[in-house]
């Protein structure tokens, strides 16, 4: 009835997706490993790491400017040629698939550890896979709209936890600043950097954007800053309440949040916050799986990408039930692997593409313009 139309989303909608994705997993899993590197200076690492976010926004607007109306998948093939382009796109998608499985596992282990000890991972992951498949089937527009609706809930969780904990926060836990110099926070900044590099995912829906590159930069910087502020607040809450224990508990924010008490009425609210936190994870996973499915469709030259939803999700489901069966293995092996995978797919590859694009632009300015 209604004509099939091109999917159109705004840059701010995409940034909301990224904000939700980075914040919801960031507040949960960054603090513990980061504390081991940087101790009470973990907020310095966060600030240092956020630079990659700003760089990524610039990179997004660069690709937007020189390759208008094109998604990253198409840009890669145009830049590197057919064979090399397809190979590198495939590699990136493999990394993405691993990231997807990692996030699924992260979510499932957190839920199983803290809330549903007796529910099988099959159910917890299965639910998430089902809703993601439903979202992907409906396309990026719907995911973006869901993100807009979910944003207030996540903001409520992040800021709600901070403000309710404010009376208990002991700010002396944040000092001394940089007692061992800048080296430990620098080492630790790899971790937040990896999270911020998720901005690269946005390049895969550049074709659906309508804004000018300038606007993309503006709202992008705003988004990076908002992420930094949000995660910073939770860091302060973690450090101010748990201090040394930040590095000893798996989910510091989950532990800190148990200190919330308003009268005798609002207390022990973990389950409530957890359930809202799931909303954020859902957006992250739905967006990532949308990218994977859309681009695998391109890779296989399929016109109907929806056919891929079932097989790809079944594979992800199967693998996520097999690997990282304990929280320990997730944090020991998984954390290292995810840092490697993320820095490959989200930092090394984009840098490579950027260089190739610069070279090509310099050699033949007309080439891009013609296409």
């Amino acid at each position: 009835m209604i004509m099939a139309h091109k999917e159109i989303i705004s840059a701010s909608q995409t940034y909301i997706i990224l904000y939700l994705g980075i914040v919801s997993t960031g507040i949960l899993t960054i603090p513990m490993p980061l504390y081991r590197y940087a101790q009470q200076n973990m907020w310095v690492s966060l600030l240092l790491g956020s630079f990659i976010g700003y760089l990524m926004v610039l990179l997004i607007s660069f690709f937007r400017k020189y390759f208008p109306e094109k998604n990253m998948g198409e840009i890669i093939i145009q830049l590197l040629g057919k064979t090399l382009g397809h190979v590198s796109l495939f590699l990136i998608l493999c990394f993405f698939a691993f990231e997807e499985i990692y996030i699924l596992k992260e979510y499932q282990l957190y839920i199983s550890d803290v809330f549903y000890q007796f529910t099988s991972p099959f159910i917890i992951i299965g639910f998430m896979i089902l809703v993601c498949a439903y979202a992907v089937k409906n396309g990026i527009e719907v995911i973006a709209r869901c993100a807009q609706l979910i944003l207030p809930f996540i903001l409520f969780v992040c800021f709600g936890i901070f403000f309710l904990l404010l009376p208990d926060i002991q700010f002396q836990n944040l000092f001394p600043v940089l007692e061992k110099g800048l080296i430990p926070p620098l080492k630790g900044s790899v971790l937040p950097m990896v999270w911020y590099s998720e901005f690269f995912w946005m390049t895969f829906c550049l074709g659906s954007l309508t804004e000018t590159p300038k606007k993309i930069i503006k709202s992008g910087f705003l988004c990076v800053t908002a992420i930094t502020v949000t995660i910073l607040l939770t860091f302060i809450a973690d450090l101010g309440i748990l201090g040394l224990y930040t590095g000893l508990t798996l989910y510091p924010i989950s532990l800190a949040e148990r200190y919330i008490q308003v009268g005798t009425f609002v207390e022990r609210t973990s389950a409530f916050f957890m359930s809202i936190w799931v909303l954020g994870v859902f957006i992250k996973l739905a967006f990532l799986s949308f990218i994977i499915i859309r681009n695998s469709g391109k890779l296989l030259h399929m016109t109907e990408e929806r056919l891929l939803i079932l097989p790809i999700f079944i594979i992800c489901f199967w693998i996520s039930l097999r690997i990282f069966n304990s929280t320990a293995s997730l944090f020991q092996t998984g954390n290292f692997l995810i840092v490697v995978a993320m820095s490959c797919s989200n930092i090394a590859f984009p840098a490579l593409f950027f260089l190739v694009a610069c070279l090509r632009l310099k050699i033949n300015k007309k080439m891009v313009l013609k296409k």
């Binding site: 909608q13 809330f115 409906n138 709209r145 869901c146 807009q148 799931v278």
Partner: protein
């Protein structure tokens, strides 16, 4: 076997040869007796059709024939404005123009073929045949039995107009015209239903409403091939974008002021003869959750009421589910003293909480449904029995715990806070799957059903407009009129419909 198949095959009799006489496009004959023969044949076995012979004039006498359906034509007017002047004629008229001048009726049409004759007669217009003239006159003096304009029975307000639409299309359009006094208000007439020929109108304001929207509506309405259309609800089901959704994507209202408000916003409306419910297109989610009174009672009160309504909508949707999830999975969320009293009350009950909740909710739904269909006389009896059964007796028999009764009654009240009846039905229906998920997976189940709802709502469109607009996609200009109700002077812009199908060529503002 073949016979059985043939029996089950739906045969469309309207196209068989025997019935072509009803769609006769033949021109009228010059001879009156020929015309009469054909018409008597068509209206055989129709006792309510009146065929009256007249003789006009004195010197050259000319025969004439008047046909109408008893009860649809205004007999007093026929007497006063048709028969009297015709009998007073001195000489038999020779052409139609002179007869037209004789009759004191403003709405006279010349018709030339048989099918138009049948149409006009069915519309309640008496048709006058004159001998030796190959044309007939249709006299626009129909009179159908209707009820008076009354207060709408489903959408009550304290402040605001009390008028509601009724079953007569003409009265309804006059109610609209009364409120929008500009020639820009367009009322396009169509007929649908293969046998009922139900008149309906598509109404919009020229210059505010997108022409593509009107075109799309006409296109979709034309596609309806139903034998009979008796209510706008049937049209609604045919023209909505997505049929497989519990949410209504077409807004219907009984109130002329709501209807006119929507037209002035740039929407289009459909009115169907015989139905007091008007349709407004495109419709968005928030239309179903706002009442016209929000706009009449000041923005502070309006906003407060809307927030209250949103809160209770969430309770209507999730109330029992949250109760079930929290008491079975997350007892730590409940303050200790309350938890103790809940457990104590539940100790006597032999069922798990979810069974308790389902029993109560289904009983309530039964009472509600029965309450609508009850004959007036037995109403009080049933309500007493209902109150006793689901209130007092169920607790005393330890079937349910008192707290569950409180939860269910709050939910029941909450579901009726939704101003639109269809939307409240949706919310009530969705409660059941969520309750079952909550009982099996706790808050996680609720959150996942919430996610599914979000995805579904975001994917819905009503005539190309995203259903959740202006919340998602976010529209800064009209966000002031959703969960809150901003002051009227801040609503400077009309709702911006982003349906890419038509928004591009938006004319006039």
């Amino acid at each position: 076997m073949l016979n059985w198949l043939r029996k089950n095959k739906r045969i469309d009799h309207s196209s068989s040869k025997n019935n072509t006489k009803y769609n006769d496009i033949k021109r009228l004959a010059r001879r009156l007796s020929e015309n009469e023969r054909i018409i008597r044949q068509v209206y055989a076995k129709s006792s309510d059709v009146v065929i009256k012979h007249l003789t006009l004039g004195k010197a050259p006498q000319i025969r004439a024939l008047l046909i109408y359906i008893a009860g649809t034509a205004d007999v007093a007017q026929i007497d006063e404005n048709v028969l009297k002047p015709l009998y007073l004629l001195k000489e038999g008229p020779s052409d139609l123009a002179s007869i037209k001048n004789t009759l004191s009726i403003p709405d006279i049409k010349e018709i030339g073929s048989f099918d138009t004759v049948y149409q006009e007669v069915s519309n309640g217009h008496p048709v006058l045949f004159i001998d030796r003239l190959p044309q007939a006159l249709s006299l626009g003096i129909s009179k159908w039995s209707t009820r008076q304009v009354e207060e709408s029975s489903t959408e009550f307000v304290i402040r605001g107009a009390k008028e509601g639409f009724i079953e007569s299309l003409e009265t309804n359009t006059s109610l609209v015209r009364k409120r929008i006094r500009t020639p820009r208000l367009k009322i396009e007439r169509m007929e649908i239903g293969r046998y009922t020929h139900t008149p309906m109108i598509i109404s919009y304001i020229d210059g505010l409403c997108d022409p593509d929207l009107v075109r799309e509506i006409v296109l979709r309405v034309r596609r309806i091939s139903e034998d009979g259309i008796y209510d706008s609800g049937m049209i609604q089901e045919y023209i909505q974008d997505v049929s497989w959704s519990p949410f209504p994507t077409v807004f219907s209202t009984e109130r002329p002021d709501t209807f006119c408000g929507a037209l002035v916003e740039g929407r289009a409306g459909i009115l169907v003869d015989g139905s007091p419910h008007a349709i407004v297109l495109p419709s968005t989610f928030f239309m179903f959750f706002s009442s016209p009174e929000d706009y009449y009672s000041g923005f502070i009160i309006g906003t407060a009421i809307r927030i209250l309504r949103t809160f209770y909508m969430m309770i209507a949707l999730l109330g029992p589910s949250i109760y079930v999830a929290v008491t079975t999975f997350h007892q730590e969320l409940i303050p200790t003293t309350l938890l103790i009293s809940i457990t104590q009350a539940h100790e006597q009950v032999p069922f798990p909480t979810v069974v308790e909740a389902l029993i109560m909710e289904i009983t309530f739904e039964a009472l509600r449904e029965a309450g609508i269909r009850l004959p007036r006389a037995v109403g009080p009896t049933i309500s007493i029995v209902g109150a006793l059964v689901i209130g007092q007796a169920a607790i005393q028999a330890s079937l349910v715990s008192p707290l569950m009764v409180i939860v269910v009654s709050i939910t029941a009240i909450a579901s009726f806070m939704i101003p639109h009846y269809e939307a409240s039905n949706t919310v009530r229906l969705l409660r059941f799957p969520i309750m079952i998920l909550a009982s099996t997976f706790g808050l996680l189940g609720i959150i996942f059903s919430f996610i599914v709802l979000l995805i579904h709502l975001s994917s819905l469109r009503s005539f190309g407009v995203p259903y959740l607009e202006p919340l998602a996609p976010f529209k800064k200009a009209s966000i002031i009129d959703t969960l809150v109700r901003g002051p009227l002077w801040t609503m400077k812009r009309r709702p911006h419909f982003t349906g890419s199908t038509w928004n591009r060529r938006r004319t006039g503002h």
